[in-house]
Amino acid sequence: MFQITDIPRILPEILLLFLALIVLGSDIFEKWGRTAAAQLERARSSASLTAIGLGLIFIITLLQSGYIPGTVVAPEASTTNPLLSYLLGVVRNLQVGGPGGAPIVGAFATDDLTMIARLLLIGAAFLTSLLCLDDLPTAHPAEFYAMILFATTGMCLMVGAQELIMAYLAIELTSIPLYLLTGYVRSGSRSAEAGMKYFLFGALSSAILLYGMSLTYGFVASNLGGIAVSGNLTQFERIAELARDGGASTPLLTLAMLLILAGLGYKLAIVPFHGWAPDVYQAAPTPITAFISTASKAAGFLLLLRLLSVAFPESVGSATLGATNLGGWTAILALLALLTLLVGNLAALPQSNTKRLLAWSSVAHAGFLLLGLVAWAAPERFDREQGSVALIYYLIVYTLTNLGAFGALVAMSRAGSGVEITDLNGLARRNLPLATMLTICVLSLAGIPPLGGFFAKFYIFMVGWQSGAYWLVIVALVMTVVSLSYYLRLLRAMFIEAPSSGEPLRIEPATMTTLIITTAGLVVLGLFPNLILGLIGRVQTIAGL
């Protein structure tokens, strides 16, 4: 039953929706002039409203999570100061809806995983909106920003989904705005084409996903022999429970799982379901590319983590060569990871467009991320938990890195430069801070210590090894070295080549802020991973995975 007390538990999602509606509604009251100045004015008001709103929602969510030491309000805390007392009451009421509790109507879990993911996703959306602040769309600005907010809502719902229908709806709520955002620049044919391509691939993958889900539903319903009394036939835990009992239709469930994996694989751009990714990443407006490649991927991976670990724990299998229980979804994911690592890294080698190169590198990173899921093959609970911790840490670092890297590209295209690698030539001489920050992002992607990317890789390799996928870890290590050669090309262009034009490159303040936040985050997380590892470690102890 949904209760009124559940409302604070989904406050971030409610606020996101609310903000989206405000952005749409307030646009009506703007002056809809045809002059450039009026259009800019209108776009700017939507953009700043979104950015400020997302910032506020992020802070509220952070307060609600109680993750910042010193912000947790004890139940008995009180003060005589009326204003303080009021604030105390507000924060206390917020934190009532903090992490914990049974899933709302069995469909939406608000545990630590959801909470951390919300912070990650809303944070990513906030940084994206900062990037958009400088890269303004002129046509229908309110819709553009509202789309970002709708997609963010969808992602937040996705990571909390404990049930198939919820998961599917959340995926669609995320994907449809993203198709539109990809094709937003209608004046350029590439963006529109990419939007179309993304939509077609997305629709196909949704169909596959839905097919898998309906087979799962069929499995559950038939196993219950039509005596279903409650409407929980699509809950993840229910599926696992029935799978444990076995039955003649287990192969059906395996087929369903494969279809679901394939469907989600498309969304995550895992090889061989990655066909759309390079084109879409390259042609979408750069802030949107950043958003798709980070937030959307993070949400997808976390959904995959929850879905596979809660609904299909029986068919974990093992990815160890020669093991008796070789098979299951860890083996499939290990195979996909192998393909993703090979194709992603090798295809990135010959790229001449920075955006496309980063697109392929995003594909490759999905391969590393899969190692965190493969860790579920480990027999001991402790190692599985480590796998999830490593996955989430990697996702956080990867999100920061990619937002920073694409942010630098936004800065460049705003300054009138292209995004070919040759356009990076001599960037250090044109704008040293920008070049330095892009360098930090690129080095973190390559996994050079002491940046966040190094520890993320180090950790995920270790959990991958512990799970028994030795061969995969070795391939991943080799691919890390291969990846160096294309990342170093970017560095070489920036620092070594002669600049194409001697003019200094100006960066707009909002983009600069994004870059500073992301690079500072990378350095801090790389040097002090302990800051958030303890927090991420809570995911398991409370989520009860």
């Binding site: 050079i448 180090f458 950790y459 390799f461 160096l484 620092f495 590892l533 470690g537």
Partner: protein
Amino acid sequence: MDLPNYMLPAPDGLPWLTLLWLAPLVGVLLVGIAAWLGLEDRVVRIGATAWMGLPLALAGQIWARFDATATAAGQGVVQLVERVPWISAIRVDYLLGVDGLSLPLLLLTVVMGPLAALASWSVRERVKTHYALILLLQSALLGFFMALDFFFFFIFWEFSLVPAFFLIQNWGREQRRPAAFTFFIYTMAGSVGMLLFFQIIYLAMRQVGLPTFNLIDLGRLGRGLEVAGVTGNLREILFGYMEQIGVTGVLGRYPLLYTSIAFWAIFIAFAIKLAVWPFHTWLPDAYSEAPIAGSILLSAVMSKMGAYGMLRIMLPFVPDASQYFAPLMGGLALVGILAGAFGALAHIGGDLKRLIAYTSINHMGYVMLAIAAAAALPDTAGQDSRVSALNGAVMQLVAHGLSTGALFYLAGALYERSGSWSLNDVGGLRHVAPTFAGVMGVALFANLGLPGLAGFVGEFFIFRGAWATLPLFTALATIGLVVTALALLLMFQRIFLGPLPERWAALPDLRPRELWSVLPLLGLLVAFGVYPLPLLRIANATTTELVAIFQRLLS
């Protein structure tokens, strides 16, 4: 924090080591501020060079607090230890400390810093960035020699590549791009195996209840010494883990096989850095294409990272496999010695920097030979032979750093005057630049190991120690000595002797600044040549305890 008895904090409780590696980093910051304020290049040049005095002073303080004779629980005591828990999830500690192996190299690093800074006075473009990179590189190198937790060890190891890469790429000679690229990729690719090995070791250690990346503790276990109640042996722990994950079912139940795999993972990583034949191919390009400051730091300090890694990790972790492969290591060392020597000889009519680079391969070959000899099998050799081989290796590392640093500096000074790296373009310079000739002569004789100079002490100890275990290789290696001497003397002859070409008649002699840059190094070379005890004393206790395992393995 509780420290075992083989680790001691600083007597006065100050974080000397952290200050030491942070000092150059603060220098980077200051250079950044200078750039922001738009100060003149000249100010940055003087400031950065002067700032190099700070690490020097700090290292002096550290030396003063170091008790070279302390041993405890079967090893030299690691001193001035700082330990802060860092990543609790995988038991990473921020652990710094110095012992007899690291202190000489720390001292070498702080001495070469000012020289590299002085050598960069001739850099004309992007001066601030250049100095920032030198300071950054020094910081990474210092951190590397002090870090005793693999995590930080690896961070400093890899991070030192970044400034070196940019130094070569931005200020190097014509062929700098492939050189920098090869250098970076080689080192990085080589260390991948080591990274994997440590992850496995960590997981293996978890099985015995002591998950750790602590290099000292792991090294103790490798040598069969007790750590925090765990008395096993790294070899058995590794084997047990391999058995548990089922690898023994595939590869067989031979404990030595797994330590051998570990040995190769470690050896390749460090052999590339030390430029052991056949892993040396990156070296001539990197050394010769780098700017002078880069050449100095690369040859004098960075190549020492490889030797240090072997002494710190390879010998104590996998003593049995090291012993097993010692003849092979000795063989590679011998080939390197000869190849380096003849390579140098082949360049007497060519590129001065390449010639010096090849002599570096030759000299690092002696270090490799010493390490192989310390581990090698014959039981006729006493512990003293093994110790003197290792002490010689440490001495050789320092002496070679000083002399090659000086040679590269002088080569750079020569290039500034003549505008050419080719030995064919110069000659007879003794007539116009007598001081130059004299100073270069001393550096060169120290390099080729003339008695009375530091290079001789190192080589003498190495040959004395290696003779007992690897007599054949040692005997053949003497050919390398002669050929290198020949190459270096011919080089001297080409530059300074013979008739003076007309166009060099106005070539200026060493300027006071240049003279005073090199004189301290020459002073040290002479001082350690005549009285090497202070330096040998630092290393002696640590190396004595280190080689004890090879004596034990035999019995």
